[in-house]
């Protein structure tokens, strides 16, 4: 009986999800930058550049692996398209200092680093598991996203960015 009701629930949710389109945009949320100052996520659109937004955490190994891969490919990718990378740490207050050190130790200086210590931005973007990566155009429309990471899936990001232009 229980199984049946859960299955029914699954089917109804799936049907609903298929019926809607994803035209979501960048929500406006206040979040800490690298210095600890509060900024509004709207300001990410100031330069009008497309961006990759990656939600990560110190305890999420695939997230770190994905950001490392993006970082490694960045010089080559920037030759093909103009964009920026925003790395959003979803670590709680206990790890936000550690997350800063880890980002430096992994050489992520070229990323815009944001620290979402009570997960307000994460919730507003409806991220329930990390890693989750979004590609946004210069106006803040979400044009691509994926969840989870296995080596090689970062290659879809460049295609998504090139698709904007």
């Amino acid at each position: 009986m229980k199984i049946k009701s859960v299955l029914r629930f699954f089917v109804s949710v799936s049907a609903f999800l298929l019926s809607i389109c994803s035209f979501a945009q960048l929500p406006s949320v206040k979040i800490d930058n690298l210095k600890g100052e509060q900024i509004n996520t709207n300001s990410l659109l100031d330069d009008g550049k497309p961006m990759i937004i990656s939600f990560w955490a110190c305890t999420c190994k695939p997230c770190i692996q994905e950001l490392d891969s993006i970082n490694e490919n960045l010089p080559d990718w920037l030759e093909e398209a103009d964009f920026k990378v925003v790395a959003v740490s979803t670590d709680d207050a206990r790890f936000s200092a550690k997350a800063r050190s880890l980002a430096q130790g992994h050489g992520w200086e070229d990323f815009v680093q944001l620290y979402d210590k009570n997960q307000d931005f994460m919730r507003a973007m409806n991220v329930s598991v990390t890693p989750q990566v979004f590609v946004l155009d210069g106006k803040g429309n979400i044009v691509y996203s994926h969840t989870g990471y296995v080596p090689g899936s970062e290659l879809e990001l460049l295609d998504a960015i090139k698709g904007i232009e």
Partner: protein, 538 residues
């Protein structure tokens, strides 16, 4: 349960066409759905728990509608029934969270359920962590104001969520932040001075009143944040108000409850430069458990955030004895007012082309964490060792295809939570190897060994993962106790990912122990079963 969901889904679907035109109008609907279902079965070898239903399922549906400065959202949760090991307060289906909010650049107002945190959360935090079953969102209202980036203020009032209900505890609070460096227009330094006040009111029974305990208590915190040229310093002092603990030695005379005053000190400092990150945290806690409902033993019963400040590992054998912070224990013959200790982290990236960096760079990291009981209440004197961990890891790409991570960890864990000074000492070594056969085909192998003379003695573990990017991932793993139990904890499964949807199916045997997330742990019993998990967002 289904009728509630159907109504909401229908309403959301009605809104959806609006969202498809949203790019121009600035309004859109987003949401997410998460489901975790386990079919349990008998396993005499591990004395696995099998609930009467043989089945458990935790489900979450979240929807948010955005239109300009206006946002509204809701969350539905269904536990049909709740998974084994989760807090028993979570049951059946309900509309648990809902809110409306209006925000512009300076002002913001939220009504309904919301999450909030003052400073590092030591004084007050409401948050959600589905791995723990935690959601203590405040049902009430919040007003925020900021003047440029110089001044900001928040005022909150509400009743926290507890399980599927809202508790009767009233929480009132205010939080302020002022930045003199922004006022003076300084660009190369950042300084902010912050403070919070929190009043918690819970009607307490006559027993408490007889002992002079009050229903309302007020706490506060003061903080300073400073940053210049890669150096940072954060300091926080917290007075968490009065706490009442049942005295196990109460014999009918005198007071039934012990009155304590919660306090905490936290320092976080460090230096970050290109390729180098150093961080030091020092923290002391005394009677810092802030409860939603006084005296309730549930793991959900929290109004603040006291995480274990040490490395949180992900490798199987490194997490057998995780540390949980001690926020004050009152037992027969043992009273410990809290904990004190710290951790140091060093991250360094040996760049490409250097001797240790090789052709592709080498990343190294070391952590040292150590925590003690407080020898005498009200002092800074350390007592018995609670937990100690020294770990070092190195990550290196040997060529374009082959990467290794090597980790060593020495852990000392006190199974008596500091009642005496006995500890379990263990040495853990992990080799994590990734080989990329092509751009989309890779394999990963983990080999792990734990050596200890305590508890269940030595363990060995291995995991093999095969990945076909960007969609498929398959794994098998086993954890085997070489010492006392000689039990295999096998596991295997696959995951399929498409865009923002991930579906995974796994089967395995899980040992009793702890699930930790964000430095907070909950105890889980042993179970064996088939696990189906789905997450998606849109």
């Amino acid at each position: 349960m289904n009728s509630v969901f159907f109504i909401v889904l229908a309403a959301a679907a009605a809104l959806a066409p609006g969202s498809s035109k949203s790019s121009e109008s600035g309004s859109w609907l987003t949401g997410s759905f998460e489901s975790n279902t386990i079919l349990y079965h008998q396993d005499n070898k591990t004395s696995a728990i099998v609930p009467d239903s043989h089945f458990g399922s935790n489900n979450y549906l979240k929807l948010d509608y955005n239109s300009g400065k206006f946002t509204a959202g809701l969350q539905l949760e269904a536990y049909e029934p709740v998974l084994v090991g989760y807090p028993s307060e979570l049951s059946s289906a309900a509309l648990t969270n809902y809110y409306v909010s209006w925000n512009d650049d300076d002002f913001g107002i939220t009504a309904g359920t919301f999450y909030e945190q003052f400073g590092s959360g030591l004084l007050f935090r409401t948050w959600e962590d589905r791995a723990l079953g935690m959601n203590n969102a405040l049902m009430g209202a919040r007003i925020t104001y900021n003047y440029k980036d110089i001044l900001s203020a928040k005022v909150i009032y509400g009743l926290p969520r507890f399980g599927m209900d809202i508790s009767g505890t009233q929480v009132k609070g205010a939080d302020f932040s002022f930045s003199p460096s922004r006022l003076l227009g300084l660009n190369n330094i950042y300084l902010s001075l912050e403070g919070s006040l929190l009043n918690r009111y819970e009607w307490l029974s006559a027993d408490y009143e007889l002992d002079g305990c009050k229903s309302g208590t007020t706490g506060f915190s003061g903080r300073v944040n400073f940053e210049t040229g890669g150096f940072y310093f954060k300091g926080e002092y917290v007075d968490a108000g009065e706490k009442y603990y049942y005295d196990p030695l109460y014999d009918g005379s005198g007071n039934m409850y012990l009155k304590k005053r919660g306090n905490a000190q936290l320092i976080e400092t460090g230096y970050n430069a290109r390729g180098l990150g150093i961080g030091l945290s020092l923290r002391r806690l005394e009677w810092m458990s802030s409860q939603n409902v006084n005296g309730n033993p549930s793991t959900l019963n929290m109004l603040n955030y006291i995480p274990a400040m040490c490395t949180q590992y992900t490798y199987m054998l490194t997490t057998l004895h995780p540390y949980s912070s001690r926020t004050g224990d009152v037992g027969v013959g043992f009273v410990n007012s809290g904990e004190m200790g710290g951790q140091l982290d060093v991250y360094y990236n040996f760049r490409r082309g250097t001797l240790l960096g090789g052709k592709r760079g080498t990343k190294v990291h070391a952590n040292f964490s150590t925590y003690y009981t407080i020898a005498r209440e009200g002092t800074f004197r350390p007592g018995n060792l609670l937990f100690r961990d020294f770990s070092a890891d190195m990550e290196k790409y040997w060529n374009k295809q082959f990467k290794t991570i090597l980790l060593y960890s020495y852990q000392e864990y006190n199974p008596t939570y500091g009642a005496d000074n006995s500890t379990w000492k263990s040495h853990i070594a992990v080799a994590d190897m990734l080989y990329k056969f092509s751009k989309s085909f890779s394999t990963r192998l983990e080999l792990q060994y734990l050596h200890t003379l305590s508890d269940k003695k030595d363990w060995v573990a291995a995991l093999l993962e095969v990945n076909f990017a960007p969609r498929w991932s398959v794994y098998v793993s086993d954890m085997y106790n070489l010492g006392l139990t000689k039990i295999n904890y096998y596991n295997g499964g696959f995951a399929y990912t498409k865009s923002r949807t991930r579906l995974s199916l796994s089967y395995g045997r899980y040992k009793s122990g702890y699930i930790c997330s964000g430095g907070v742990c909950r105890q889980i019993p042993a179970y064996t079963g088939l696990n189906l998990a789905l997450t998606t967002s849109f």
